[in-house]
């Protein structure tokens, strides 16, 4: 079975979710491109979009149509070539409409597993629940005569566990997209001891066609991305608690300070609390829960997250893409208030911003926001100058930032020492491409 044949019948599980919908979109486009090749013209390509909710699937089809159209508008030069033999399609608008139909026409929204019994590849992006994943994999594999391959998007469950318990010897690998899959360039590729060579080769070709950057991670719970993010997040949460106690700050004040330090002083795209909200308080808590049993020398668990979930404050996004409130409250995607899980209320930044900013102290003069730095050709020079100045500052905020930076570096080293990542570079690549950081955690700053 060659690459195109393999992709002739595909199922995405959890297709209406945040990750699933992106995987579905990218796969649909790739399949459509294949279907236009002369040798594939008379073949039928099928992409099952499986999810449990009919409502969510309706939303998915709408999302898909909008996104496919947007992509089509961007590759019009190519599309005119693809449809050159269709004399009835003359204008760009006519060609785009036909292309959107052709892509949508491959997609079958389904709520049962049966269609997956004919698939050659199963992309899995259901909830981070190992038992659920195993049950579904087993059911499909028991009924599918094609010996299908399973590409799981899990960001935390060890692949070997899934392989063993679902009895998929050699036919599974971790193919971990970053959120949102259509935008983020990074995929973490995780093999088990048994993963077949041809499955890996297909994964590499597929990633290449999707223009994704592959970083191999060893099969250890959390892999590289969450291995860094979860520890980084826990450090941020605990630092806020520590500040509240030692410096006699309210919880919202402490959250504000840590978020600001981790964003502005660390030149990151988001502060740590905003990132937790973006990923979802529930998702973070769940991932820590999956990872923690595998960790011998540390306790990756936060009672604060438990408390937030008890209070029903979860973060994450609305289906429109707008940010839900979590540790922070958002207006037009910008944080404007911080949550006090003791009084169960948001407190506006305006009530304490001046006081907190004064406590933090002036930000080093050479600091520029992430947006101004990350796309600058002289990025490395700018960062070098800035961090040199940061290391020399004696302000409260400056010291917090340096501690934060060092912790992030320690986490990076730990991932290499634990053999989760093969090299320092792999850790840095994951943070640069999967988290859009301007610099890797393992650096000389």
């Amino acid at each position: 079975m060659n690459y195109a044949e393999r992709l002739q019948n595909v199922t995405v599980l959890g297709a209406a979710g945040k990750m699933g919908s992106g995987i579905l979109l990218l796969t649909a486009i790739e399949m459509a491109d294949l279907s236009f090749l002369p040798e594939n013209k008379d073949k039928n390509f099928i992409l099952n979009a499986m999810d449990i909710s009919d409502d969510a699937l309706s939303g998915l089809m709408r999302y898909l149509k909008v996104q496919v159209k947007k992509l089509a508008e961007k590759k019009m030069v190519l599309l005119r070539k693809m449809y050159a033999d269709r004399d009835d399609l003359i204008e760009n608008g006519e060609i785009i409409e036909e292309y959107v139909f052709d892509v949508m026409n491959m997609v079958r929204p389904v709520t049962s597993l049966e269609p997956a019994y004919k698939s050659n590849i199963i992309f899995e992006a259901v909830a981070e629940n190992a038992a659920l994943k195993i049950k579904i994999f087993k059911q499909i594999d028991d009924n599918n005569p094609n010996k299908p391959w399973f590409f799981t998007n899990t960001s935390s469950v060890p692949i070997t566990k899934l392989e063993t318990e679902a009895g998929l010897k050699g036919r599974i690998l971790g193919f971990h997209f970053y959120n949102p899959p259509a935008v983020q360039k990074l995929v973490e590729l995780i093999l088990t001891e048994n993963t077949m060579k041809e499955t890996e080769e297909f994964a590499l070709e597929y990633a290449k066609k999707l223009k994704k950057k592959i970083v191999y991670s060893n099969d250890f719970a959390g892999f590289i991305g969450n291995g860094h993010f979860m520890r980084d997040a826990l450090y941020g949460i605990n630092k806020a608690l520590e500040l509240a106690e030692k410096e006699k700050l309210s919880i919202p004040e402490a959250i504000y300070i840590v978020d600001k330090i981790s964003r502005d002083f660390l030149v990151r795209p988001m502060g740590i609390f905003q990132l937790i909200d973006y990923v979802g308080v529930d998702v973070c808590s769940f991932i820590m829960g999956v990872m923690n049993p595998y960790l011998a020398d540390e306790d990756l668990h936060s009672p604060v997250l438990d408390k937030m979930l008890e209070l029903g404050v979860k973060g994450g996004q609305f289906s429109s893409g707008a940010q839900k409130d979590g540790f922070l409250k958002y207006e037009k995607s910008r944080p404007v208030a911080a949550y006090d899980f003791e009084t169960k209320q948001y407190v506006d930044f305006s009530e304490f911003q001046a006081k907190c900013d004064a406590k933090i102290g002036a930000i080093p003069k050479t600091q520029k926001p992430w947006k101004a730095v990350n796309f600058d050709k002289k990025k490395l020079d700018i960062l070098e100058d800035y961090f040199q100045e940061l290391n020399e500052t004696n302000t409260f905020g400056g010291k917090l930032a340096v501690d934060y930076l060092n912790t992030s570096k320690q986490i990076g080293w730990k991932l290499v020492n634990m053999n989760v990542a093969k090299t320092d570079d792999d850790v840095n690549t994951v943070l640069l491409t999967g988290f859009y950081h301007a610099y890797g955690p393992i650096n000389n700053y």
């Binding site: 961007k74 019009m76 030069v77 599309l79 005119r80 204008e91 760009n92 608008g93």
Partner: protein, 413 residues
């Protein structure tokens, strides 16, 4: 062509801003003013300068594709909306693609010459940001022959002029041509920065020449042009009056505040034929020749020019069509600074189509307004010197790929 049988003037010019990417007010996600807004703003401004609608005898509006950009036809019917005083007055819409504005001027001039009108309110308008550029390309392709659309480029007109640029690179050398084109872009933006209504007025890029030298990428756009070689998508209207001597008097406008039309040339080429020589704008050349002959002047009598640089390569080719540069020497002529605002004959003093903007069907009228501002010395920061011994202005407005041409010679009244 016979000499004008009586004096024809233009006055009371007005340009709205050219709205589109580059202007701070522009937000593609928010609703924008429509066709009606632009027609009203420009029309009212001119009426105010001429003592009101009662002084207007007839109206002409130039527009290219409102039927598709705005799903609106019958534009002549918008004149009474500008002012009830225009109700029941004769009005007509003319269309000749991006040369529609020039055709509106020519129509108004001829109306004055027939003696049936003394004052013709003349307006040009296009509102094109109603759709994304990739669909706008379909609409604008209507300026070419539709039978050739299927084989054309996704970005049809950039594709046409990319072919011209490619042929020119091959014949005369790419490097020096790109330098001339980049200089054209630089001049356009620098001039636009002096004109508050220009689309590139807010442009703050430091190294414009480097940007202009951006290497074309045929994978995403066309083979031989980058986006900086192209005019942008614009919403704008321009308005003025075309009037007889008596008409000016009626409006209370001193001749000194008007420009006189000394001569004009019109030329049309077969839409179904490809250009004979990609490296020459032969129809432009013919229209300019006619205009010069009609006016009895030469290029050496010109103080300033507004020409149709829908693409930087069109600017290069136009300098040759006018006779400012020999064939193959246009790019070097530009690179040497001969078209800049400090040159002997400054060209496109408020940015032209690339810098000021290109509201397709409105551009011809915009050019006339700009020349009127320059020759009557009301161009503000973008004013260039108008020498007494060569006081003439020239406009060249082009529809399609060198198909529909109107060129006019002006002098202060």
């Amino acid at each position: 062509m016979k000499k004008l049988r009586k004096k024809v003037y233009m006055a009371a010019g007005y340009n709205t801003i050219s709205l589109g990417t580059g202007r701070k007010e522009f937000n593609p996600k928010k609703p924008r003013p429509g066709l009606e807004h632009y027609i009203k703003e420009a029309g009212k401004a001119t009426l105010e300068m001429i003592g009101g609608a009662k002084n207007v005898d007839e109206c002409v509006i130039g527009n290219f594709m409102s039927a598709r950009f705005n799903k609106q036809g019958n534009l002549a019917g918008f004149f009474p909306m500008i002012d009830p005083g225009l109700r029941y007055k004769p009005a007509v819409k003319v269309e000749g693609a991006c040369g529609s504005g020039g055709l509106a001027l020519a129509t108004a001039i001829k109306t004055i010459l027939t003696d049936t009108a003394e004052v013709v309110l003349t307006l040009g308008v296009e509102v094109q940001n109603t759709m994304k550029a990739i669909y706008g390309a379909d609409v604008l392709a209507g300026a070419g022959w539709f039978q050739k659309r299927k084989d054309g480029h996704a970005y049809f007109f950039p594709g046409q002029f990319s072919d011209r640029a490619g042929a020119y690179y091959e014949k005369y050398g790419k490097e020096k041509t790109r330098l001339g084109m980049a200089t054209w872009f630089k001049n356009a933006v620098e001039n636009a920065r002096l004109c508050p209504t220009a689309q590139e007025y807010h442009n703050t890029v430091e190294d414009l020449l480097a940007l202009g030298l951006t290497e074309p990428n045929g994978k995403f756009f066309v083979d031989n042009l980058s986006v900086y070689d192209c005019s942008k998508v614009s919403d704008a209207a321009s308005c003025l009056i075309v009037a007889s001597e008596e008409g000016l008097k009626r409006c209370g406008i001193d001749k000194k505040d008007a420009v006189e039309v000394i001569g004009f040339g019109q030329a049309e080429e077969d839409l179904t034929q490809d250009p004979e020589d990609l490296c020459e704008l032969s129809t432009t050349k013919e229209a300019v020749r006619k205009a010069f002959e009609h006016a009895g002047i030469t290029k050496d009598d010109l103080a300033t020019i507004e020409l149709h640089d829908c693409f930087s390569i069109a600017g290069v080719l136009a300098t040759e069509a006018i006779g400012l540069a020999k064939p193959g020497k246009g790019a070097e002529y530009i690179a040497a600074g001969n078209t800049s605002r400090t040159a002997k004959i400054p060209i496109n003093t408020t940015g032209g189509l690339i810098g000021w903007g290109h509201p397709t069907g409105g551009t011809g009228v915009h050019q006339a307004v700009t020349i009127w501002e320059q020759l009557t010395e009301r161009a503000g920061d973008s004013q260039v010197p108008i020498p007494a011994d060569r006081p003439y202005g020239l406009t060249i407005n082009m529809g399609g790929d060198d198909k529909t041409l109107v060129s006019i010679v002006y002098k202060r009244g």
